[in-house]
Symmetry: C2
Subunit: 353 residues, 2 copies
């Protein structure tokens, strides 16, 4: 293909308005030291000619690229896409992130990076060198990857770490995992449950621990036992099935189970069905994530709603603020989720003993 040069450049605008390139540049970037009338004149030329700055050129001259890079785990994301289970984490990130970016004239570029890989660093370096983004959004498990965090910190690129709350580099944001687990537990306690089991997520994600903390904390408040009621899964359906069996096969099984992912909750529902346990009559189930699928099960699942879009949106805001010279917040930003009650939770059956 032939050379495709910019049709309308800053030069054209400058010539049309009869000013220097610099003045046009100042107007574009909303910088000081331009008289209002001058600004107006330049803006008129911009509008007239339909001029839009080339982000390549802007980036070249050392300024912003107006690009924010959102990075997700490759393996897991592709598995979700191919699995077609309706997991809409990526969609929600785009919803929150892209729209917020657009508000500020930024663009979001979505990338996949392997975590389990000796060349994570090379991959990320390449993406940064190629795109030179003004900011990066990390999601679990990348958010806690010291290689990635270290690299970004060293390169002085503002970056958000969704699902992290330690004070290391970057802007930490959580979806209030502990609080959500507390609310889920409270919901069950309020219904009258005493034995509430918990299926944890993969320990690779620090949020898995926080959710356990929330459950344990709330149980402690009520003086309820947690011993033998915690099983570790890894977010997958298969791990959820194993965990659910372990909980329900015990001598004194729980009357309710909180699963740290929708897939594990689905598995729990299936295990209950196998065992002939009525849900919610004999077993209540609460899931985490609230992906679309949980509304279509029988019964529909009560779920912790993860505010993914809102969190992505906040991440963008904070990155842009940081990039504009503000400093990052010292405290992690906590975006609170919700609990959506559906048919899978009810008062426990009365036990005659």
């Amino acid at each position: 293909m032939g050379r495709r040069r910019q049709s309308v450049t800053i030069k054209h605008v400058a010539a049309d308005a009869g000013v220097s390139l610099q003045t046009v540049s100042r107007v574009i970037n909303d910088e000081p030291n331009v008289r209002p009338e001058m600004k107006e004149r330049v803006q008129a030329s911009i509008d007239k000619l339909g001029y839009v700055p080339s982000i390549a050129a802007q980036r070249m001259s050392g300024s912003r690229s107006y690009l924010i890079l959102a990075i997700n785990d490759r393996e897991r994301t592709i598995a979700d896409w191919q699995g077609r289970q309706g997991v809409d984490w990526v969609d929600q990130m785009l919803l929150g992130g892209m729209l917020k970016c657009a508000e500020y004239g930024y663009r979001m570029i979505f990338e996949l990076v392997d975590t389990h890989n000796d060349h994570v660093e090379r991959e990320l370096r390449a993406a940064i060198a190629a795109l030179q983004p003004d900011g990066v959004i990390l999601t679990p498990p990348h958010s806690d990857n010291p290689l990635i965090v270290g690299l970004l910190d060293q390169q002085k690129i503002p970056f958000a770490r969704i699902g992290s709350r330690d004070g290391a580099a970057g802007i930490a944001l959580t979806m209030d995992d502990e609080g959500s687990a507390r609310r889920a537990t409270r919901h069950l306690v309020d219904l009258g449950h005493k034995r509430i089991g918990f299926i944890a997520g993969s320990p690779e994600y620090s949020l898995s621990r926080w959710r356990i903390d929330g459950w344990e904390g709330e149980m402690a408040v009520e003086g309820l036992p947690t011993a033998g009621l915690l099983v570790e899964g890894d977010f997958t359906y298969a791990s959820g099935a194993v965990a659910a069996r372990q909980l329900l096969d015990g001598a004194n099984p729980p009357t309710a189970i909180i699963a740290s992912s929708d897939q594990m909750a689905l598995a729990t529902l299936e295990v209950a069905r196998e065992k002939g346990l009525d849900v919610p009559g004999q077993l209540s189930i609460v899931s985490f994530d609230n992906t679309p699928v949980v509304r279509f099960t029988q019964p529909a699942l009560t779920a912790v709603d993860q505010p993914v879009a809102e969190t992505a949106s906040r991440a963008v805001e904070l990155i842009i603020a940081a990039q504009r010279g503000g400093q990052r917040p010292t405290e992690p930003t906590r975006v609170q989720g919700g609990l959506v009650p559906r048919g899978s939770t009810a008062a426990p059956a009365v036990v005659h003993g």
Copy 2:
């Protein structure tokens, strides 16, 4: 934030390898006129220094941007995201498009553009001027928007039109809508259905017409009637409900209905339930799209699977080929979908009459 310049540039590589910038450039772009040993030496330096070309600089000097812009309808996409019905069209596009882009060293940028808007053109122009993509992927209804198609054609940017098959500018790709409708119809005919209703999609999408053609064509082959069996919807649940009632309230209602979207099929299922019609005993239903939700209904819906990922992947391939000097195919590329039989279709009840 301080100036963030490229840490390793072509200069560093040239110096390290002891060659000119030009030679390095040739190696990067895999151009001729470099001795193998020279190439090897340069490549060694590139690897050693971890050099990655800056896309901005490449674009600046008039070459490729390695960016492919995928454009979806803003209103509809945001509605899908917010609706959280598990519609995974975007995910499938990313799956097919991003991975194929990555194979060629390209990146896919996803953008939302309003169709119903007097400033479509301005929006698109801005995106192109800002990003200077090497190619654009259009999806319905943009694919048939003459303003957009004209603009892209005029700017000589290679672009794919998913869901279009006319010979206008650009690379046309369809998901074989007509063939899919034929297969769906055939599936029902083979089960013994004679009266097969069809709920069409919005006429704004030309694929709506092709699906009707497929259904009518296959019905004609069998000598089956179509009069009074076609109702127009607009892909939404609400329109599907209206259409289904219209079909089922008639004197001689169909024993099977093909709906041109999952949402309309879902609505049809609900209407059947209201009317006390057993599915599939008294009414068979086939849907289009095969989004995740159709597996969770009772019964699960037999659906036409739209090969969205595959189509996006092909679009990327064709764009890159075109961009590399090949010319666009003269015939529309047709990516064939599949029919996934599930519980919503069965032989019709025997009518005693």
